[in-house]
Amino acid sequence: MPFQFNWPQEFNRLQEEMDRVFGRRNDGPTTRSRVFPAVNMMEDHDNLYIESEIPGMELDQFELLVNEDNQLTLQGDRKKPADDGGTWHRDERTFGRFSRMISLPMPVDGDACSADYTAGVLRITLPKKPEAKPRRITVSAS
């Protein structure tokens, strides 16, 4: 008998299994990561960039720490809006204190780091230490 693999059904089963294991609620949208806050990391020649989507904060509610071991700690408290006694039909957004420590892939200048918060997106710029910047090696023909 040929091996029958029902792809849609198998994927649904796998999805349910993952949801059960990782504890995702069934009523929420299924497209975004549950780690909060999710973090993207980028670089160019001079800087390392950490970007995170944390809407509904003010810049002074963030605590950003860079330590000697080259780890960045991103923490804050995302406050739930005041509840004036209505009926909650949907409750999908995440609130409360959060803290994430991220190991940086290269040495950065902790004193020169800066952060910008626009439209709910936090972007931290961490200048690389000179020794971490790539050096172009000239190849000379002999």
Partner: protein, 130 residues
């Protein structure tokens, strides 16, 4: 053993297809109902006022937000979330005063107020003592 690769005709798509190569994500929403209105709070990071298209027709509320690409030209080292447009459709069962719908966005949080029509608001009935 022949593999079964012949698929039937593709079903007619009921959803419009995007023409841009940008992924679309479902934003997370909280919905609170009070006597006077339905209030929707949505997390739409990266969305500014001009990027929003909110429509209410046929008892459907369509929230569409275009997110401009950012971080172009940078080397990605780690990616835990994707950047793309947001779209979500809600069916609103209550009678809504369409003229009075209003919305604001602040720091990536969209708030939509859907005031109920006078007829849909609950009325308190006085009980008289006899």
């Amino acid at each position: 053993m022949a593999e079964n690769t012949i698929a039937g005709p593709a079903p007619a798509t009921t959803e419009p297809e995007p023409t841009r190569q940008t992924p679309t994500y479902q934003p997370r929403f909280d919905i609170v109902e009070t006597d006077g209105e339905l209030t929707l709070f949505g997390d739409l990071p990266g969305v500014q006022q001009g990027d929003l298209d909110i429509r209410y027709e046929n008892e459907q509320l369509v929230v569409l937000a275009t997110v401009r690409p950012r971080n172009e030209g940078l080397e990605v080292l780690r990616q835990e979330y994707g950047i793309g447009d947001f779209r979500r459709v809600f069916r609103i069962g209550e009678s809504i005063d369409a003229e009075a719908i209003n919305a604001e966005v602040h720091n990536g949080v969209l708030t939509i107020h859907l005031p109920k029509t006078e007829a849909a608001k609950p009325r308190r009935i006085e009980v008289k003592a006899v």
